[in-house]
């Protein structure tokens, strides 16, 4: 008997359309601020207009008298509500300085946007109107905006710390110290460059929104929040507010993007919870975009001093890195760890024997920084990939050639780097060669020879970036060695219901990534059931109590693998039931197409549906077997996963205006096995444009008084469709050997590769004019000014009349 199965041979790897889409496309999906909560009070916050100021007095009387206002509080009024300061989960060193940080400032405001008072009113409009009536008297103090100025301690921001330096974190390799100095002294070539990672605003399209709904008599409280981390938020809120954890439920309705900015525990979440408990009423808050610009974390913010030493053949022998990191005014959830996430990646994809990394991080009077797509890894990749181009330029060889001389070779994997981490698998040369082919690298080089002549006004440039992404966060023991306060495992439950429908419960918390679709594909493939018979439950701590959420390209490589492992356990249990009922030996059964069959006796078989029902009735189960068909797995990955790839960008730079036109962008990414190539491509598209936006458009512009001058979407240049190109994608597939699916992760790869590829292309276009670096964002003004500064003061140069 042949079982006819008209499903594709494997669901895994197909371009299955997303099950999430119909609700999102029709307006049926509910985001947090769509929730209807009758009787809810609306929270609004008065925020400091000063970057640094002593709070002398807070007069709430006019606000309290305003229509609709129920209550108003200063920071001092609320101190009794906090069991602990706001959490920082990553004390990277034992002596790290961490100022006490409360949801509403007491005594001092330390950045523009720092909350100084709150109002509760019966409508959002009434709450916001009343904020204008709060009279706060400030004694302005000097702002600290510049990182080196901050390090000098000329002005100390947090009096109790006595310094602006939060920590110094070193990655020193034993025995390298003296040797590295000798290597630099003896090197045929050295490069020493400074790169600036400008501050960026994450700008998820959905601003944050929070609602806390108490059950005053029942004792429980539910927090709705537009967050990436419902599980972490639950634990941290319980600790910070002294709420018994079992009485707190955190759930996220649809979440409109995060990019790291919603990987946090924010003042507004704690305020809604605390005030909902105090007032015994629902309390909600919707962030306005202008607030989002100053009150939601920023990304990047580093000065990178990068040095390479190479031998006469261009073989890189040593990397020395010094980072000055901008923490902002306070340490948010993982602020201090962001530069450390990049610390292992400054050798990039190259076989470099000596390594010396040190990061010093300082407080400034600016919005706190924290995770933003890539989080430390785009910064590291930018520095090494820019420095490699610098070295190639110095040696007078093609950067592609120099990269090929230094790539970790395919046969060196698994490769243990001098930093102690083991890279699982890779083939950098294959990815680079595929990218070069798609970009017509040789052809562009040939066109350059004819186009970039003296006097040319439109100069052609091509730039490459090859990257590693350290993701799949993370092996818990490695996190322990980095002083992170939690683990990096993920939980999954796979439950076969009596009618052979499947419930999958995951601890991941999607916000646009399509986990419901991808996870159902994994289970469909493992259990031989139709994807539409699988439901994926997530993002509600009452339904999925265990999990560590979604960030760091971890969801598939940790959470997806946990689901596959749970399926294996379900199959193991089902096999016991099948063996019992078929009166066969377990070893003689094979599972395929959703049924167990006795080897050699194809007529003796039992489908999963029958087993599920048998497990439910429990009429005839093996002795001692619990009557259910479900399994739970908590998976702690043995290693990070290491996606990689090469991006190549071709640009034309208008020398007269400084305008950069991207002619082509090629991204070749290898994320191991692809569960759904359509979703993989979508992640790359979005990531690349975010990285390209850092290179060309985006910067949080602060004045010397610490005011954010572009705190809106009218002024901060999130690119529109008309600002960016279509993309050319290629993929190589090098499965990870560390997990059964062979998957690695793709969420951040695009962002990691893009910024250095774009800037390398611009510098390449202009190198004939003496330009060796361009600051990000490479706006027309910046590019034009860079060209002007580089052109020797000879009147004929560049003049083609």
């Amino acid at each position: 008997m042949t079982v006819i199965d008209d499903r594709p041979a494997t669901v895994l790897g197909s371009r299955m359309l997303r099950r999430e889409d119909p609700a999102l496309l029709t307006g049926e999906a509910k985001y947090t601020n769509d929730l209807n909560l009758p009787g809810a009070l609306h929270l609004a916050l008065a925020r400091s207009p000063y970057a640094h100021a002593r709070i002398l007095s807070v007069d709430l009387s006019a606000a309290l008298a305003a229509p609709g206002v129920v209550a108003a509080y200063s920071g001092a009024d609320l101190t009794g509500l906090w069991a602990a300061p706001m959490p920082c989960a990553w004390p990277v060193t034992a002596d790290m300085k961490n100022p006490a940080h409360y949801p509403v400032a007491v005594g001092k405001a330390a950045y523009v946007g720092d909350a100084v008072a709150v109002v509760l009113a019966t409508s959002e409009v009434a709450a916001r109107d009343a904020i204008e009536l709060i009279d706060v008297q400030y004694e302005p103090l000097p702002a600290v905006v510049d990182l080196e100025d901050a390090l000098s301690d000329r002005i100390v921001i947090h009096d109790e710390l006595g310094t602006n330096k939060s920590y110094q974190w070193d990655l020193k390799i034993e025995g390298h110290d003296g040797a590295i100095d000798e290597a630099f002294a003896a090197a045929a070539y050295t490069v020493k460059d400074r790169y600036i990672q400008q501050r960026l605003l994450p700008m998820a399209m959905e601003p944050r929104a929070v609602a806390a709904v108490p059950q005053p008599f029942g004792g429980d409280i539910t927090l709705y929040s537009s967050t990436q981390v419902p599980h972490i938020l639950k634990i941290m809120s319980a600790i910070t507010l002294g709420i018994p954890e079992h009485q707190l439920r955190v759930t996220t309705p649809a979440v409109g993007g995060g990019f790291g900015s919603k990987l946090n525990v924010y003042a507004e979440e704690l305020l809604c919870l605390a005030l909902a408990r105090k007032h015994k009423l629902p309390v909600r808050w919707n962030e306005e975009r202008g607030e989002n610009a100053v009150a939601t974390i920023h990304g990047r913010g580093q000065i990178q001093d990068m040095e390479l030493a190479a031998d006469a053949d261009g073989k890189i022998i040593a990397v020395r890195v010094r980072i000055l990191g901008d923490m902002g005014a306070y340490l948010q959830l993982v602020t201090p760890g962001i530069p450390i996430l990049g610390a292992f990646l400054y050798a990039g994809v190259y076989d470099i024997p000596m390594y010396d990394f040190s990061c010093t991080s300082v407080f400034t009077t600016l919005t706190p920084t924290d995770a933003y797509r890539g989080a430390g890894r785009p910064e590291a990749t930018y520095a090494i990939e820019r420095a490699v181009d610098s070295l190639a330029h110095k040696m007078g060889i093609d950067p592609m050639d120099l990269r090929e001389r230094n790539f970790i070779r395919k046969d060196q994997f698994p490769y243990t780097a001098m930093t102690g981490l083991t890279y699982d698998s890779g083939d950098h040369l294959a990815a680079a060669q595929m990218a070069a082919g798609l970009a017509d690298y040789a052809g562009v080089r040939a066109r350059q020879a004819t186009q970039n002549v003296p006097g040319a006004t439109k100069r052609l440039g091509i730039g490459q970036a090859s990257y590693f992404e350290m993701c799949g966060l993370a092996p818990s023991r490695v996190l322990a060695s980095l002083n992170y306060s939690a683990g990096g495992w993920e939980a999954a439950t796979v439950r076969v219901l009596p009618t052979n429908k499947i419930q999958v419960v995951t601890g991941t918390a999607p916000h646009g990534q399509g986990h419901e679709t991808s996870w159902s594909m994994i289970v469909a493939d493992k259990l031989g059931v139709a994807p539409e018979d699988i439901d994926v439950l997530h993002s509600d701590t009452a339904i999925a109590p265990l999990g560590l959420d979604t960030y760091g390209s971890r969801s598939l490589a940790v959470g997806g693998v946990a689901i596959a492992m749970a399926c294996d356990k379900v199959i193991d249990k089902a096999k016991k039931i099948a063996a019992h009922q078929l009166e066969a030996n377990e070893d003689d059964l094979e599972f395929a197409g959703g049924a167990f069959t006795v080897k050699g006796s194809p007529d003796k078989s039992m489908p999963l549906a029958a087993i599920a029902f048998a497990a439910f009735t429990a009429h005839d189960l093996p002795d001692g077997l619990e009557p259910n068909l479900e399994a739970h797995v908590t998976y702690d990955p043995p290693n990070f996963s290491w996606p990689f790839g090469t991006h190549i960008c071709t640009v034309e730079v208008d020398v007269e205006t400084g305008h950069v036109k991207v002619l082509q962008y090629v991204a070749v990414d290898d994320c191991g096995t692809q569960v759904n190539p359509m979703i993989v491509e979508g992640q790359v598209h979005g990531g690349v444009i975010q990285g390209l936006a850092q290179a060309l458009f985006e910067v949080a512009e602060y004045d010397t008084d610490g005011n954010l001058r572009n705190a809106s979407l009218a002024e901060y240049l999130v690119p529109a469709a008309s600002d960016v190109p279509s993309l050319t994608l290629g993929h190589t597939i090098t499965p990870s050997p560390t997990n059964q699916l062979g998957v690695k992760g793709i969420g951040e790869a695009g962002t990691i590769g893009a910024a250095p590829a774009v800037i390398n292309a611009i510098v390449d276009a202009l190198s004939g004019l003496g330009v060796d670096d361009v600051l990000m964002p490479a706006s027309p003004q910046t590019v034009w000014a860079t060209i002007q500064a580089a052109i020797p003061k000879t009147p004929s140069n560049g003049d083609s009349k």
Partner: protein
């Protein structure tokens, strides 16, 4: 002020404060929360709806200005349980990820094709420049609109 607005084919007689924006009227008075708010500067286009068949950012219009108008929101696009061809094109081409910009993007894109039924890629990109997306990099949004125009 008393207004009469037809939204998704249903006439609504309402009494609104003169300062009420159309987007707030739609979301709060009519409970049609598919229209999203992404900014406070009329930059992002997430709140785009159709007024008398043309895409308009509903945060740039007062509810009273819509008096007598025919308004269509994202909830009015699918009919009889069938997605509008533009919604279908977005689904088939992975033109959305988090979905927050999507209702506005679909409204803007359908309006664009009404004006220019067979746009070039460049025309689609320029036509959608008032609508921001942070997830897709626009690649698949553009692809979706072109596919819808081609009747794929």
């Amino acid at each position: 002020m008393k207004i009469s607005v037809t939204v998704n084919g249903t006439v609504h007689e309402s009494d609104v404060e003169p300062r009420t924006l159309l987007v707030h009227y739609i979301r709060e008075a009519l409970a049609l929360t598919g229209t999203n708010i992404g900014c406070d500067t009329s930059s992002c286009g997430a709140c785009s709806v159709h007024i008398d068949g043309e895409a308009v950012k509903s945060c740039t219009v007062l509810a009273v200005q819509a008096d007598g108008a025919q308004v269509t929101t994202i909830e009015g696009m699918a009919t009889d349980g069938v997605l509008h061809p533009m919604q279908q094109a977005f689904m088939e081409n992975h033109g959305l990820q988090c979905g927050y910009c999507t209702p506005g993007m679909v409204m803007a894109a359908t309006s664009l094709l009404k004006e220019n039924p067979h746009p070039s890629e460049e025309e689609v990109r320029i036509g959608l420049e008032g609508n921001l997306c942070r997830c897709t990099g626009y690649h698949n949004i553009v692809k979706s609109v072109l596919a819808c125009a081609a009747g794929d």
